[in-house]
């Protein structure tokens, strides 16, 4: 098993055994700033090597994917899960959006196995994150009385820490190009996987602490949090193949589709849909889907890609 996953399990075990181990909040924040910038820079450097024109149809395809996912999740939550409109919309937005750390683990999975993939994939993270949040908010507000402060929301979505650092890193990497960024590479690229391991320790602590909320939320969320990622992965991998990504790239897009947000979405939903209960969506995305993806999902999606990618004409 990958050491990155072992660090995650160490965190889970520590919390389940009620150890008082805690990463200081500033360290957690510092590590996440580092990861977002590093992923962005890496993607930007690769983007600088490609002409942008041919990428535009791919961006369009990913945008459509991002809008489709929450629209698929919502009716399941509303009618099968029997959640009220605000909770269903909020959870849908979490699953329409993405988890950066899941993406990083999948990236490390491919790099370790030497599997090639489009290096500019971080661009698609941004493209996928935004519509997920937007559609989730729209669903919650349409039909519900009360005006929607679009300005505040666009601000929350586009200027939230995740998009800003990832997008900023992309831009800096793109403008600077590989040579100018060489002195940065030792920190941002060479140390990436080890910093990810430290971050996964924290993720383990946090994910385990969500398990209690889960017990209250019941069986439906457990099923939802494991089945939906698999379905979304299939949709994402197929989309990737259709827009011409390599198997590695399609697998990454599938993982992104399968992942659920637990940083950007909770913050945006708390402001846009305050009536939604935040512990439901976090229990599902952080307590179920994140561990599932990291331990079971990523190797599974890799296999699925092997079967699906060749099947797409």
């Amino acid at each position: 098993m990958d050491p990155v996953v072992l660090f995650f399990l160490l965190g889970v075990i520590a919390r389940l055994l009620k150890s008082d181990l805690r990463l200081p909040e500033a360290m957690y924040e510092g590590l996440s700033i580092y990861l977002l910038l590093a992923i962005g820079l890496k993607g930007g450097v690769e983007l600088a090597k490609h002409p942008i024109g041919p990428l535009l149809p791919q961006v369009g395809g990913v945008l459509l994917l991002g809008m489709a996912l929450p629209l698929l999740a919502y009716p399941v939550l509303r009618h099968v899960g029997r959640f009220g409109r605000p909770d269903a919309a909020s959870i849908a937005a979490h699953y329409g959006s993405v988890s950066m750390v899941t993406f990083a683990v999948a990236l490390a999975f491919l790099v370790d196995r030497g599997i090639p993939h489009e290096e500019y994939m971080p661009l698609f993270v941004v493209v996928l994150e935004v519509p997920g949040l937007m559609i989730g908010i729209l669903i919650a507000k349409l039909g519900a009385g009360g005006g929607l402060r679009w300005g505040a929301l666009a601000h929350e979505v586009f200027l939230g820490r995740s998009i800003l650092l990832l997008g900023g890193g992309l831009a800096i990497g793109w403008i600077s190009g590989p040579e100018a960024l060489a002195p940065q590479a030792k920190l941002f690229f060479d140390l990436f996987k080890a910093v990810l391991a430290l971050f996964m320790l924290e993720m383990g602590l946090v994910a385990a602490s969500r398990i209690r909320d889960l017990r209250r939320a019941g069986l439906f969320l457990l099923a939802f949090g494991t089945i939906v990622p698999c379905v979304f992965a299939v949709i994402g991998i197929t989309t990737g193949a259709l827009i011409g990504l390599s198997p590695g790239g399609a697998m990454l897009l599938g993982t992104l589709a399968a992942s659920a947000s637990y940083i950007a979405a909770p913050a945006a939903m708390r402001i846009a849909v305050p009536e939604a209960n935040p512990s439901l969506s976090l229990a599902a995305s952080l307590g179920v889907t994140f561990p599932f993806n990291v331990v079971v999902g990523i190797p599974l999606y890799h296999r699925l890609t092997g079967m699906l990618h060749a099947a797409v004409p």
């Binding site: 805690r22 909040e25 602590l205 946090v206 602490s209 969500r210 909320d213 637990y262 940083i263 909770p266 913050a267 708390r270 402001i271 305050p274 009536e275 935040p278 512990s279 976090l282 952080l286």
Partner: protein, 100 residues
């Protein structure tokens, strides 16, 4: 040295509301405010800051009694329904009455 009676309004609530609360409180007429990061537990469960979504702040506002009432009422009406919120008031004495 003479002290002048004022009210201390204390609001304990979710961190993301901070900037919005500051705006509201100043708009209602307060001359200042003080904020600290805290953790806690109550009706909405344990908010120990173990995740970004679980952080609390504690805001103190010193003001006269009528303003204290309207701040408390505003917070109850606008935030208390959907957000973990605790509000209390205390009698205090200040030295410079013109400041608060």
């Amino acid at each position: 040295m003479q002290t002048h009676a004022r009210k201390l309004v204390v609001i304990i609530t979710e961190s993301p509301l901070e900037s919005s609360l500051v705006k509201d409180v100043l708009a209602l007429g307060a001359h200042g405010y003080t904020v600290a990061d805290v953790r806690g537990g109550g009706r909405h469960g344990t908010r120990e800051g173990s995740w970004e979504a679980d952080r609390n702040i504690r805001m103190e506002v010193i003001c006269d009694a009528p303003l204290a009432e309207s701040i408390a009422a505003h917070v109850m009406q606008r935030y208390a329904r959907n957000y973990a919120t605790t509000v209390f008031l205390a009698d205090i004495g200040v030295l410079r009455p013109e400041k608060f």
